[in-house]
Each structure stands twice: as structure tokens, then as C-alpha cells.
């Protein structure tokens, strides 16, 4: 951690330097220019929320009860201005109704010039509405005024449906005209044009502006200095097939600077950028690592506990409130304590040396530091123990700062008493600690990639470029996956050309072995040491592959519609089939084309949005209109979800005369085949009446379906959601990791996505896999569950309890075994075992009970 003084906010008194007891502030420090030689660079300058002050029709800055969404986020926050109570700024009253106005600073070329969709506002507005309802226990009316609800991400549609159907959030299709204030009540009157074009008014206690994402001026200046090309909205210019590369070789980017996106996308891109930046540097991997030589561990077996207690003043953080000398004196009187000391800063470098000396001098075999949270400092103190030969698990902390002096600063006496209690508890537990060894397991440096589509090929290629051996298995006899059926991206990128180049590069890479017509037949092992059985080639020749990591990239396909008379006429196609037709024959003979959106998506059978179909329809509509402007194109839709920079293409389609007609999910279009004609009937949302369109081509925007992976997931025990897409370990924090360690996920097997998104996700998966493969060995935590087989009655409670299916019954030895390489150390099995035959290291029953007993021995 490093801290710096914000010189813009500093008044220049210099007092901090004088009061800092650790003498850690150099007030006179100056900005220094340093030259650093680098091999690659990643730009992640982030985003700035759009400032709506310039949009006077919304009244932001003029009416106190109009706030921005990030302002409202603070109002909801427990650490915010109202401590999480939802109040409106004007009179600190709980609002009865709140309106969210979408697309403020986005999808607006007239007022602010930001033509793009910010991609995140629909979701955060929905979230804010739900949390506001949760915080205000009574009735709160939440209305989200939108043009289209764009909840296109994985599982986002379910969230939207929950908000609408369960929590009662209203979603109003509208274009907002003005917001005005009732000066007497502070309420706000929202005037808007409804879906049918009618002007309406509604009054709300508060208005939240769902402001979009913009690129800050500092990032634009940075790009200028680095000579990076930006697009007209100041996002970094990129190629759909090289999403995280900038216009300058060796410089990569991620996050909103690459294009508007949410946190999972940003985190994924961050790993992708790290992958590319790292592959150029893979030759120098591990060069600057210093190896610390540790002395041999002292044997404390059979010794009486000799506990040393180091009480910390933490400057005045503890010492200013707690009577530290009294605590030190008290500690010295406790059983098994042979040494007690106090320090100004126990975490400082010189104190570590002192602790080491005292351990040797007093032959300490248990060490307690009474200071702050183990979250921040435990690992460091454990290293101090190891540096003088004491096992790291002979250490205990008493948190007398975060859990004591900071919160009881108004009652120093109580704080001192509590500090003594906490130290006594630590001493009680310390006596029960015993050395534990962290098992080291080797890592097999080969990777396996399942699936040879765009995702799998990119993952394999990047792992190869990072200098790791890869086995790429593909069930078909050709590489390319679903993308073999696609022609162009919406930007005009040639997909076939890209696959040709990519597969040639993968085939030519000497680190990548490709197995075609190959499927997984068996699977075993654990992180770093997997063993997979595959059936290779037409003859299903069995082969065993040993590897350290797996990347799952099994892909998805286009849904085959069962609705809208699909199959009854060769004039009814899916978007992918239309793509073929446009590529082969063009549009010369077409007079009227109708497209229906959300076919096989956003319905009862498949709740999720398929993410890619809106842009697919717009893409094909543009091709038709550009080839033949006379052709009429109708797109019947529910919400147009051309998120991010694709909004420009939606606008272009409207400008070229493509007619977009909205329908409600309860009132879908009807299709009749009459000879060569297709009759499509739909309700026009402006006219509010049925209209009939005679089409000579009907295109169904069929959604996506994951490849059939039921067999694979049962063999490998991979979890999928109800739609069949594999589940990541954490949506935001670990978006390309799977819950099992050493297993990574990318491409449409994770959820529907664009090719550019697939590429960055595959690079991210490769990058995450490299963090694993680059280690010579894995050190396992010693905090794992162990079975006392003598005591165990094999009731199998642990098998049912473990959230990760780790305990197993060994049928040969007739015992329960818990593999420490797979144990996550949660202790659920230990808590559930009716015979206490399972103990979790560092948290065993004796260690916890001693703590309880020591606490209550003080007679609280």
C-alpha cells in the first residue's frame, strides 16, 4: 500500500509530518520524472459519469430532488450522507415515488452528441429501484422511463423480470420532454411522450437521472500523448477481431476506454489485455523474482507452550485510548506467557527484527500480536515467524484496534478492559496451536482446451504464445465452430477470412496440438494435475491426457424455431440463413422483408435475452438497404438492444428507412403462409391497431442455445444454469474462472455474446490459466479438513454437507477421505460431523472452545 497527499486539497500546513509518529510522511516530497523501460503497456483510464448540468430541461442543479444515478447510489449507501436511509435532498423526507430517466447523456446525438448506448444504465437503474424499495419498507412507487430496456447480459433478463413482476417496478416506454418542480412541495412533474405519442404528466417525489458513461478529458489527453487513435466518441479505436488492441502496437486497453461496458466485461478485458501484454514478455517471466531462503523449522513437539505477547500502540490509534502498558502487564500474568512487550508500531520493519530476536532469546514457541485485523497483517507476522524457524501457524492475533480502540474511543476504560479480554482469549487459543505444514503439489504445465471455435482457438493460441503446451480438442472434423456459418460482423469484419487466418495460425503453432473428432470420455485429478480420457478420431481411439488446467469453450448454436411457421416455407429463414442468402444471391428480387425479434428468447421456455440478435437484424437490414434501397424492411421488436457503439448502426438503419415496430410479448405477430406470400399481422404501437404486412421474406431472429454439453458436464462435474450455459465462479470478480480451481471458461458456452467479446473472453481465460501454469508448484493452504478415521462411523454426513463434493468414501480402504488439494477450508463438514471426527486445521474445536472458555473465565 502506498499513500500520497492530494496536493489539490492540501492547505499546506505541514502538520501531518509533525504528528506522524512513524515519521512516514515526507511533506517536502517533489514530483520526480522517472524513466521506465517497458515491453508493453495497458491503458485503463476508466470512465466518468456524464454531467447532466448542460441539459436544462431536466433541471439537474436547479431542483434539489433531481439527482444523478451515482448521487442516488450514495443515498442508498450505508456509508453515504443519510446512512442508507432513502431521503430526498430538499427536505430529508422519505420519497413516496421515484422516477428514473434513462439515456441521459447516451443515445442522444441532438443534445449532447453521445450517440452510443452506455450499456450499463438499464441494469443499474433497475438495481437502484429494487434497493430503494427494499430500504423504504412502505409503499414506494418506482418508475423507469425508457426507450428500450437493455438487460442483455447473462441472467440480466431474469433480474429485470423480477423487478417488474415480483417487486412491482414500473417500466414506462417514454421520451421525456421536461422535468419541472412544484415549488411548494419540491415534487417533480415529469412530462413525457408515451409509446403511442401522447403527451402525459406524472408527479414524483424524486427524479434520478440515469447518466451514461463518458471518457474523461485526462484519458483523451493521455491518448494524444501516446498517439493512440480514438473514435468520434473518444473511445479507443479497435478492430472487432482484436478488441483490446489499440492502434499502436504493444499498447492494449480494457474497460470503458475500449467501449461502454459493465464490470464483468471490464474485468474480463483486463485479463485479456494482460494476456496480450504478457505474451510478448513471456520470455522474461520470473526473471526478477527474489527467492527467500527460510531456515529449517524448529521442532516444538512436546514442548510446553512458551507464549510471547506483543502489544501494539499503533501510534496513537490504540495507545491513545487503550492503556497499553496495563494490557502488557496483564498479558505477562496469563498462563504460559513467558514474555510480553509493547511497540509503537508492531508492523514496522525494525519491530519484525525485534520480534525475531525475542523469539530466539526467550525460546518462544507461540507468538501473539495484539494490534489490528488479521485480514491485513496476519500474513506478514507469519512470515516473521517463519524467518526465524517457527512454523507460521503458531501465531495468533488479538484485534485490539479495529474491534476495540477505534470503536470504543469514547470509553477508554471499557476499551482497556476489552483489550485485556481479547488478549486473554488469544492466549487461551495460542496454547492449543500446533505446527501445520503446507503441502506443495507440482503443476503440470500443459493446458487442455475443449472446443475449437473462435473461443477455443484464441485460448489455445494465446496459451501457446505464452509458451505453454496446449492440447485443443474439437468434436467436429474441422476447426471454426459455429462461426463457420457466419459472414460479416456489424462493423464489416470478414469472419470467414478471420477463421482461416486464425486456424492456420493455431495449426502452425508448435506448442498447440489439435485433436479433431475428439470428445472427452473420462475425467479425474485436481487443480494442476488433471487426467482426462479422450476418444480421438473416427475410430474413437482412447488416449489419456495429463494437464494442469482446462479451458472450456464448447460454444453455442442458433436456435431452430418452432414458432412463426418456420419450416413451412422456404421464404421463412433465420438470421443466419438470411446471412447466407445475402452473401450468395443478394437482395435484388426482394420487395418486402419482415424480421421478428426475440424468437426463442425472452419467453417462458428461454427467459434470457440472446444478446446478439438485435445487432444481427440491424446488420442484415443494413446490407439489404444498402444493396437495394427500394426494399422495404420491417423489424418487429420488443426492445432494440444495440448496446454500446452498435447504437450507431441502429440509427443508420432508421435513417436508411428501416421501419422498427414494437410489439408486446403478450401480443406477438401472427404469421400466415399463402403461396409465395407471407402475411405478417402485428399491432402497431403508435396506431394501436392491427396492421398486415405482405412479405416476400420473413426472417426470424432466432436466439442462441448452448451446445449440448450434458454429457460433458456430467463427466467433468461442471455446473450449468437452467438455460444450459456454464456458470462462472463469480460474475464480477472471477468472470472467466469456473468454481473448480484450474478450470476456466470462455465464449458462448458461458452465454450468448459477440465475436469481439468472445475473443477478449478467450484471451482472458488464457491469461487466468497462465497465472496457474506459470507457477512451478502450488502451495496448498494447511487450513483444510482432516478426518479422524478411527472415530469416523461413515455416516456420510460430510459427503452431503460439503458444498464442493470433496469428501469421498474410499471403497477399498473403507474410509472417508478429504483431498486437501480440493478442500476450500470452510469447515462445513467439521461443523456437521456428529462425532466431531472431522477437524479443520487452525480452527479445530479445541482451539475455538479454548477461546470461548478464556473469554468467559474473565467473568464478563
Amino acid at each position: 500500500m502506498a499513500f500520497a497527499i492530494d496536493m489539490d486539497a492540501c492547505i499546506g500546513c505541514g502538520l501531518c509530518e509533525n504528528v506522524c509518529l512513524a515519521k512516514a510522511i515526507n511533506y517536502a516530497d517533489k514530483v520526480k520524472a522517472t524513466e521506465v523501460r517497458i515491453g508493453s503497456m495497458i491503458l485503463a483510464p476508466g470512465t466518468k459519469a456524464y454531467d447532466p448540468s448542460e441539459l436544462d430541461y431536466l433541471g439537474y442543479g436547479r431542483y434539489p430532488n433531481v439527482v444523478t444515478a451515482d448521487g442516488f447510489e450514495r443515498i442508498l449507501s450505508a456509508g453515504g450522507p443519510y446512512f442508507g436511509h432513502v431521503m430526498r435532498p430538499l427536505d430529508r423526507q422519505e420519497p413516496r415515488s421515484i422516477a428514473w430517466l434513462q439515456c441521459v447523456g447516451s443515445r442522444d446525438t441532438n443534445r449532447c452528441g453521445n450517440g452510443y448506448c452506455s450499456s450499463v444504465c438499464c441494469m443499474y437503474a433497475t438495481k437502484e429501484a429494487m434497493i430503494a424499495k427494499e430500504h423504504i419498507h412502505g409503499d414506494l412507487d418506482c418508475a423507469i422511463f425508457n426507450m428500450d430496456m437493455r438487460t442483455f447480459g447473462k441472467d440480466y433478463e431474469k433480474y429485470f423480470l423480477r423487478a417488474r413482476d415480483k417487486e412491482g417496478v414500473r417500466f414506462v416506454k417514454a421520451r421525456v420532454h421536461t422535468v419541472t418542480e412544484n415549488p411548494e412541495t419540491g415534487d417533480l412533474i415529469v412530462r413525457y411522450a408515451s409509446d403511442s405519442g401522447e403527451m402525459k404528466e406524472e408527479t414524483f417525489s424524486m427524479v434520478v437521472l440515469s447518466v451514461g458513461l463518458t471518457i474523461p478529458d485526462t484519458a483523451i489527453e493521455l491518448a494524444r500523448r501516446l498517439d493512440i487513435d480514438l473514435d468520434k466518441y473518444h473511445f479507443s479505436k479497435s478492430d472487432p477481431f482484436a478488441p483490446v488492441e489499440t492502434s499502436r502496437k504493444g499498447i492494449y486497453t480494457c474497460g470503458v476506454f475500449q467501449g461502454p461496458k459493465d464490470i464483468p466485461g471490464s474485468v474480463t478485458e483486463a485479463s485479456a489485455a494482460a494476456c496480450l501484454a504478457g505474451s510478448e514478455l513471456s520470455g522474461s517471466r520470473g526473471k526478477d523474482i527474489e527467492v527467500i531462503e527460510l531456515p529449517e523449522q524448529m521442532d516444538v513437539e512436546g514442548q510446553e507452550p512458551r507464549i510471547g505477547v506483543f502489544v501494539c500502540n499503533c501510534g496513537i490509534n490504540i495507545g491513545g485510548i487503550v492503556d497499553v502498558p496495563a494490557v502488557q502487564k496483564y498479558a505477562a500474568t496469563l498462563p504460559n506467557v513467558v514474555f510480553a512487550d509493547s511497540n509503537l508500531f508492531t508492523c514496522s520493519q525494525d519491530t519484525q527484527e525485534k520480534i525475531k530476536e525475542k523469539i530466539i532469546e526467550h525460546k518462544l514457541n507461540r507468538v501473539i500480536v495484539a494490534s489490528c485485523s488479521p485480514k491485513t497483517h496476519e500474513a506478514m507476522f507469519m512470515e516473521t515467524l517463519e524467518a526465524c524457524g517457527l512454523n507460521r501457524y503458531l501465531f495468533e492475533m488479538a484485534n485490539i484496534r479495529n474491534q476495540n480502540s477505534w470503536i470504543h474511543s469514547k470509553s477508554p476504560e471499557l476499551a482497556t478492559r476489552k483489550a485485556k479480554d481479547l488478549v486473554r482469549m488469544a492466549v487461551g487459543r495460542a496454547a492449543t496451536l500446533y505446527p501445520m505444514q503446507e503441502k506443495r503439489i507440482p503443476v503440470n504445465h500443459r493446458a487442455m482446451v475443449i472446443g475449437g471455435g473462435i473461443a477455443g482457438m484464441n485460448a489455445a493460441l494465446n496459451l501457446g504464445k505464452q509458451n505453454f503446451e496446449v492440447v485443443l480438442i474439437e468434436k467436429e472434423s474441422e476447426l471454426g465452430g459455429f462461426a463457420r456459418k457466419l459472414h460479416h460482423t456489424i462493423e464489416g469484419g470478414d469472419i470467414q477470412e478471420y477463421i482461416r487466418k486464425l486456424s492456420a495460425e493455431v495449426k502452425a503453432h508448435d506448442k498447440v496440438e489439435i485433436l479433431l473428432d475428439t470428445e472427452v470420455a473420462g475425467f479425474g485429478g485436481y487443480k494442476g494435475n488433471f487426467k482426462t480420457d479422450v476418444a480421438v478420431g473416427k475410430d474413437r481411439e482412447p488416449r489419456k491426457i495429463e494437464h494442469g488446467v482446462i479451458v472450456v469453450a464448447t460454444g453455442a448454436n442458433e436456435y431452430k424455431p418452432e414458432e412463426f411457421a418456420y419450416g413451412q416455407s422456404d421464404r421463412i429463414l433465420t438470421q443466419v440463413e438470411l446471412g447466407d442468402l445475402l452473401e450468395e444471391k443478394g437482395t435484388a428480387d426482394l420487395e418486402t422483408v419482415v424480421m421478428i425479434q426475440c424468437v426463442g428468447s425472452r419467453n417462458e421456455k428461454m427467459q434470457e435475452c440472446s444478446r446478439i440478435c438485435c445487432q444481427n437484424a440491424v446488420k442484415n437490414a443494413l446490407v439489404i438497404k444498402k444493396q437495394n434501397p427500394e426494399t422495404q424492411v420491417f423489424i418487429l421488436y420488443r426492445d432494440i438492444r444495440t448496446y454500446g457503439l452498435m447504437e450507431d448502426y441502429y440509427k443508420e438503419a432508421r435513417d436508411l428507412g428501416v421501419i422498427f415496430m414494437r410489439f408486446e410479448s403478450e401480443d406477438p405477430p401472427e404469421v400466415k403462409v399463402e403461396g409465395d406470400n407471407i402475411i405478417v399481422t402485428t399491432t402497431d404501437h403508435v396506431l394501436q391497431r392491427k396492421v398486415e404486412i405482405q412479405a416476400d421474406l420473413l426472417t426470424l431472429s432466432a436466439g442462441m442455445r448452448p451446445s449440448d454439453t450434458a454429457k460433458l458436464s456430467s463427466i467433468m462435474k461442471l455446473n450449468a444454469n437452467q438455460e444450459g450455459y456454464f456458470i462462472e465462479a463469480h460474475v464480477k470478480l472471477r468472470p472467466v474462472d469456473m468454481p473448480g480451481e484450474g478450470i476456466f471458461l470462455c465464449g458462448t458456452a458461458h452465454g450468448p455474446k459477440l465475436i469481439s467479446e468472445t475473443i477478449s473472453q478467450a484471451q482472458a481465460a488464457a491469461s487466468r490459466a497462465v497465472t496457474f501454469l506459470a507457477r512451478p508448484e502450488i502451495k496448498l493452504s494447511a487450513i483444510t479438513a482432516k478426518v479422524d478415521t478411527q472415530h469416523c462411523v461413515k455416516c456420510l454426513t460430510c459427503l452431503r454437507t460439503c458444498p464442493y463434493n470433496v469428501p469421498a468414501f474410499n471403497t477399498e480402504k473403507k474410509v472417508i477421505e478429504i483431498d486437501e488439494a480440493m478442500c476450500h477450508g470452510c469447515g462445513a463438514c467439521a461443523g456437521a460431523c456428529p462425532r466431531q471426527a472431522i477437524q479443520l486445521g487452525f480452527y479445530n474445536d479445541e482451539q475455538i472452545i479454548c477461546k470461548i472458555d478464556a473469554l468467559l473465565a474473565g467473568g464478563m
Binding site: 471499557l414 462445513a828 474445536d845 475455538i848
Partner: protein
């Protein structure tokens, strides 16, 4: 955030509330604690999937055990919050303290 909460609360660290054994809760009451509570992740977002549900079940079990022997089971409680909710933690600490104060001292104390 350094939010104030009563100093009679002492925290015992466990990796997950799923590790909290019925035995620990009973031991604390037996040795004279006036109240015991477990603080776990929000339901549905347990770091280890479902440990907090197990803790809740065990606590409900302890509640009935204590009631049976004539000690108010409500001396033992379960709270859920996310790690980002300092103020809620402090609020629960206060709420628990007040709740226990109303119940008075543990009858097993000093026995």
C-alpha cells in the same frame, strides 16, 4: 468506519458460519455468556455457498434445546449481512445488546 457499538461484544473468528458448531453455542451459554450470535453472509450469497443456512438451522436447534431446559433460546441469534455493511453490523450489535439486556443476566453465570 470506526462505528461505535457496545464493548461487551467480543468476536471469535471462524472461516464460515457453517463452521459454527452447536457445541460452541451451548458451551458459551454454559460458561455464562449472556448471549451469543453468529454473523454470516446474506442468505443466498454465502462465500461457501450454503454455510449460513446450516448455521441458521443449528441456531434454531439450539434455541429449542435451551428453551427445553428453561433458558430462553432467544439468547442465541443469527444475523446476516454483507462484508460491506459496517453500519448494519454496528446496528445489529446494538440491537443484540439491548435484546439481551431485556432478558437479564444468564442464570448459569457463576454456577
Amino acid at each position: 468506519m470506526r462505528l461505535d457499538y457496545p464493548s461487551n461484544i467480543k468476536i471469535i473468528r471462524v472461516p464460515c458460519t457453517g463452521k459454527v458448531d452447536v457445541m460452541y453455542l451451548l458451551r458459551a451459554i454454559q460458561k455464562g455468556a449472556d448471549g451469543v450470535y453468529a454473523v454470516g453472509c446474506l442468505e443466498g450469497s454465502c462465500h461457501y455457498n450454503e454455510g449460513n443456512f446450516r448455521a441458521r438451522e443449528r441456531i434454531e436447534h439450539v434455541n429449542t434445546l435451551l428453551d427445553e431446559i428453561g433458558i430462553p433460546g432467544e439468547r442465541v441469534r443469527m444475523y446476516n449481512l454483507s462484508s460491506g455493511e459496517g453500519p448494519t453490523f454496528a446496528a445489529y450489535a446494538k440491537e443484540m445488546t439491548e435484546h439481551i439486556r431485556k432478558l437479564g443476566p444468564n442464570p448459569l453465570k457463576n454456577k
